[in-house]
Amino acid sequence: MTNVRTVSVVTHQKLQLFVDKTGGRWIVRDEKGIFWVLAEQDPWEQRQQISLSDEVQLEPVPGHYKHMFGVPG
């Protein structure tokens, strides 16, 4: 029975949740490409805009986690 296939993908910009593992924080990139760091309380309501240095490596987080932080969409 078949069980393994991998396919390369092409990515495009869209609102997305990331984790900055080095900084231990949740980051959201909105449709305009602006980055936001989520707050501990009311994560989305209290979010703060940030600019990320080139050294920061963001890892994508599945979209269903957005609901946990009240991130729309």
């Binding site: 069980n3 393994v4 296939r5 396919v7 869209k14 593992k21 979209g63 946990m68």
Partner: protein, 918 residues
């Protein structure tokens, strides 16, 4: 009618209540496609076993010996800790596809011992080592092995050598549909006292974290004293439930939420996360447990110290009855009459199976058959996958222009699956596979025809079947192509019910036929490249059987005309014809469809033997069918691999009783005119006009001459016929490998009776020699159809060269008997399925437990591949039943309908003894 039959035949509403709770918890949710949100679709590594204890699942839950409701809102399973393992045993461990030398493989010993169809009684056994489970040893040793070596198994680590393990038996007993008694019996098989932390665990599937509308459910301790602890579970849709735990039982609460600190490196927003019990026991961190006695996951902590040879029993009850509900004003006593209810359900299970398992079978055969059916019933799973939502959550919303490309299943966004489905194997293949499912139904209908019908119907629903008519294959690629056996399973199930009850479910058959028409048309429009009724299809479920990967572009260019693809379509046509004939009995309008499928069959069958001039699929010189390679420059050649691909045309054989011709002269006349105008359609295949025993007709690609030639090879022990059934590849290729050169590169097919030596299709299956039960079952079916037509006049030497002549019923029975011998004790008391595994052969606590493997060694019958593929290997139960309840004489008299009619038990006893088949 016995008690289980009463439950099965209750009105649908009441019956559905009995189905509400069952073994619907998967044994592996990690490493699945639906939990995979990686960019490149690397499901095995994205969500690992190591993460599973800490990371909340999105789509379903898993656990050890577990149950859930039919929407998997509330789950119950076991957690165990021997005090030495580096992690709690919350779920079965196994190697991923890349970690093992032959693909993914569960490294645990667990057995499905019993189940009734409504799950009113179920029993499971897990063997838990008392020494530290050798996680690392299994991974490291397997990593060093190559594809030519056998897999490294848990038994090989020596962890069971001194018998220092626990036999953990779990029994589920339904008092009522909503009142489940749970008994856990733990035996210390070792020679020293041993302790065990037993943690029966109750938890909610996490929906509240992902879905805006989902209210968070709750679990709360409402009572605890020295004799009993009680948990109240509240869920917006499910309502209230109570778990009663007997004895002094501390309750440990946490939340079924991701430990974001461990998984993502971001501090948790709550102290209480999915792996809190791990932190509590392994890291001895008391703060991991919620002291408020509430959460969404709870474990009942039993600290057991068991003397050597002793057994301790733990009892629980999951019910909708609250503590203060007794009508006599007294407190509810959950463990009052516990034992008598257990005994009653157990006896009812015995009574039910005494009506299913033929009395002619001896005790060992009955044990094998009952475990096969238990495995099938335990392998039901709640399968949840909303593909549109999944695509959206990974940024691949099919309706957004700036979406990411998804690694798979993009074109299946119509799919919403959220149902209890019969799985191939809840650890190795915890996702449905369309053609496997059709075989599961053949066996499941022995005990629960209604469930079988519902499963077939499910795959044809708008939430499953693609709008273009394709039936989904499996989650790794729903668009892959599986052999079209759904119609066969459908007509089988219909005729079975009709024979047993006197009334077929015509409405179900009619609605199935409509959807199957879409599927048939999809095949005709998509897989017949040239419109000449020769079909492709790619790997078609037979993974590495070809010299090339048949699902990939060919290294030669061009394309393959597939003998199996075309034969499957011939069989599909016959099955559709059978359904149309049945429907015509109540609605003559379907007569048009009878003609349609007669014509389809004739065109397809003829194309196998005539199309392509010198390179049709039939090789007259060798007397066998082969795939034909069509090259871009117009040349063509047969790929002469003698395999199951060439035997499948033999399977496209169906006997018709000839009554249709008499009852519908108008259609018969139209058919006569058609055949008169197209005489070539009758010249190279079996002549459909020819009558056989009792005026019967036969639709078959092979005429008598071709049939004899193919059978000569099939029944030759130097080729296909092994001591344990038919091989998937002829042994001829052991000395004569098939070699094909393309631009200096060699492609070859050798006879490989055990495991695959290539990574083709993940390398976890092998169709180059081993014995596979489902295709053997199809061949048995075909032989019985041929026998119904030819009768005793058709005799053939079996085995070839033995001088022993048999009719085709006897040949079918011989194959069935050889297959059954895989599982039964031989004259030395050994089960071939366990090969050289001494403990499985000799130890009294192991030797009567049976694994139903995915496939079997082509020479010695040892089990290979997935160890719990009771799914289609469970068809052995149908084969055992068939030959214990029919006779050649009956088949001659009644035709293939005889297969659905049980003989009286006294008759089966004498037939069974007379033939000595099992």
């Amino acid at each position: 009618m016995n008690a289980e039959q009463v439950r099965l035949q209750a009105a649908p509403q009441e019956k559905n209540l009995w189905y509400k709770w069952g073994p619907y918890l998967s044994e592996r949710q990690w490493g699945t496609v639906r939990e995979d949100y990686s960019e490149g679709g690397d499901a095995w590594n994205y969500f690992s076993h190591d993460q599973a204890r800490s990371r909340a699942y999105r789509w379903g839950e898993d656990g050890l010996a577990g149950i859930s409701d039919d929407q998997q809102q509330l789950c119950f399973a076991l957690t165990l800790w021997n005090g030495k393992d580096p992690i709690l045993k919350e779920r079965l461990f196994g190697l991923t596809n890349s970690e093992s030398n032959h693909g993914e493989d569960v490294k645990e010993y667990y057995f499905y011992l019993d189940s009734t169809p409504t799950h009113s009684y179920m029993k499971y056994l897990y063997k838990y080592p008392q020494e530290a489970y050798p996680y690392d040893q299994l991974v490291q040793t397997s990593r060093k092995l190559n594809r030519q070596q056998f897999e490294y198994e848990l038994i090989d680590t020596g962890v069971f050598d001194q018998n220092r393990y626990f036999d953990v038996f779990v029994e589920y007993i339904k008092n009522t549909p909503e009142d489940m008694l749970i008994q856990i019996s733990i035996h210390n098989r070792g020679d020293q006292a041993a302790t065990l932390e037993l943690l029966p665990t109750l938890w909610f599937r996490n929906e509240w974290s992902w879905v805006a509308q989902a209210a968070k459910p709750s679990l709360r301790q409402i009572h605890a004293d020295g004799s009993i602890s009680v948990i109240k579970a509240v869920h917006a849709k499910l309502g209230e439930r109570y778990l009663y735990c007997e004895g002094h039982v501390p309750l440990l609460f946490t939340e079924n939420e991701t430990n974001t600190e461990r998984i993502f490196g971001v501090p948790n927003r709550s102290h209480y996360v999915k792996d809190s019990f791990h932190q509590y026991f392994i890291n001895q961190f008391d703060g991991a447990i919620n002291p408020a006695g509430q959460g969404t996951k709870v474990a009942c902590h039993y600290h057991l110290s068991i003397k050597p040879g002793d057994c301790q029993v733990v009892r629980l009850r999951l019910t909708d009855t609250p503590p203060a509900s007794a009508s006599n004003g007294k407190k509810y006593a959950p463990f009052f009459q516990f034992g008598s209810i257990l005994q009653q359900r157990k006896s009812e299970a015995d009574e039910f199976y005494s009506g299913i398992i033929p009395k002619s079978l001896d005790a060992d055969s009955a044990n094998v058959m009952r475990q096969a059916l238990a495995g099938l019933l335990w392998t039901k799973q709640f399968y949840h996958y909303d593909v549109d939502r999944w695509l959206e959550e990974r940024g691949s919303d099919p309706f957004k222009p700036n979406r990411k490309t998804a690694p798979r299943n993009e074109h299946w966004h119509h799919m919403y699956n959220g149902d209890v489905i019969s799985m191939p194997d809840k650890w190795e293949y915890p996702w449905y596979a369309a053609w496997d499912l059709a075989f599961h139904v053949i066996a499941l209908t022995l005990v629960d025809p209604e469930f079988g019908k519902s499963q077939l119907k499910l795959m044809l629903r708008e939430r499953y079947m693609h709008p273009n008519g394709q039936i989904p294959a499996y989650e790794w690629n729903f668009g892959d192509v599986n052999p079209p056996v759904h119609a066969w399973s459908t007509i089988f199930t219909y005729l079975l019910e009709k024979a047993q009850t006197g009334q077929g479910d015509v409405d179900w058959l009619k609605s199935s036929f409509q959807k199957l028409l879409l599927n048939f048309t999809w095949w005709v429009n998509r897989k017949d490249r040239t419109g000449r009724n020769v079909f492709e299809g790619g790997f078609l479920g037979l993974d590495n059987i070809g010299v090339f990967d048949r699902s990939a572009p060919l290294p030669t260019g061009g394309y393959l005309e597939q003998a199996d693809g075309t034969a499957w379509m011939a069989l599909f046509s016959q099955n559709m014809l059978s359904i149309a004939i049945e429907l015509t009995k109540t609605d003559p309008e379907y007569g048009e469809m009878v003609l349609k499928f007669i014509e389809h069959f004739l065109w397809i069958a003829t194309s196998m033997t005539q199309m392509g001039g010198d390179t049709s699929m039939w090789d007259e010189e060798e007397g066998f069918f082969y795939d034909v390679l069509r090259l871009p420059d117009g040349r063509s050649q047969r790929l002469k691999v003698r395999s199951m691909v060439g035997l499948l045309p033999l399977c496209a054989a169906t006997m018709y009783d000839g009554k249709f011709s008499a009852e519908f002269p108008e259609f018969t006349e139209r058919m006569r005119r058609f055949l008169q105008a197209r005489p070539e359609l009758r010249t190279s295949i079996h002549d459909p006009v020819k009558t056989g025993v009792n005026g019967r007709r036969l639709a078959s690609i092979l005429d008598e001459s071709k049939l004899r030639r193919v059978l000569n090879k099939m029944l030759d022990e130097r080729e296909f016929l092994s001591p344990f059934g038919l091989r998937s590849l002829s042994r001829f290729h052991a000395e004569n490998p098939y070699v094909f050169q393309v631009e200096g590169k060699e492609y070859r097919v050798d006879y490989l009776p055990a495991e695959s030596d290539t990574g083709m299709f993940g390398g976890n299956s092998n169709w180059r020699g081993p014995i596979w039960i489902p295709v053997n079952a199809l061949i048995i079916r075909a032989l019985l159809n041929y026998y119904s037509f030819y009768g005793n006049d058709f005799q053939i030497e079996c085995p070839t060269g033995s001088g022993r002549m048999m009719n085709l019923y006897e040949v079918a029975e011989e194959i069935g008997s050889r297959l059954t011998k895989l599982f039964l004790k031989n004259s030395q008391g050994k089960r071939p399925v366990y090969g050289e595994a001494k403990k499985f052969q000799d130890d009294p606590h192991w030797r009567d437990l049976v694994f139903f493997y995915e496939y079997f060694h082509g020479d010695n019958g040892a089990g290979l591949g997935a160890s719990h593929q009771t799914g289609w290997t469970g068809v052995i139960a149908r084969i055992m039943h068939l030959f214990a309840t029919t006779s050649a004489e009956q088949l001659l008299q009644e035709g293939t309908r005889a297969a659905f009619n049980e003989l009286p038990s006294s008759a089966t006893a004498s037939i069974g003894q007379g033939r000595g088949s099992t």
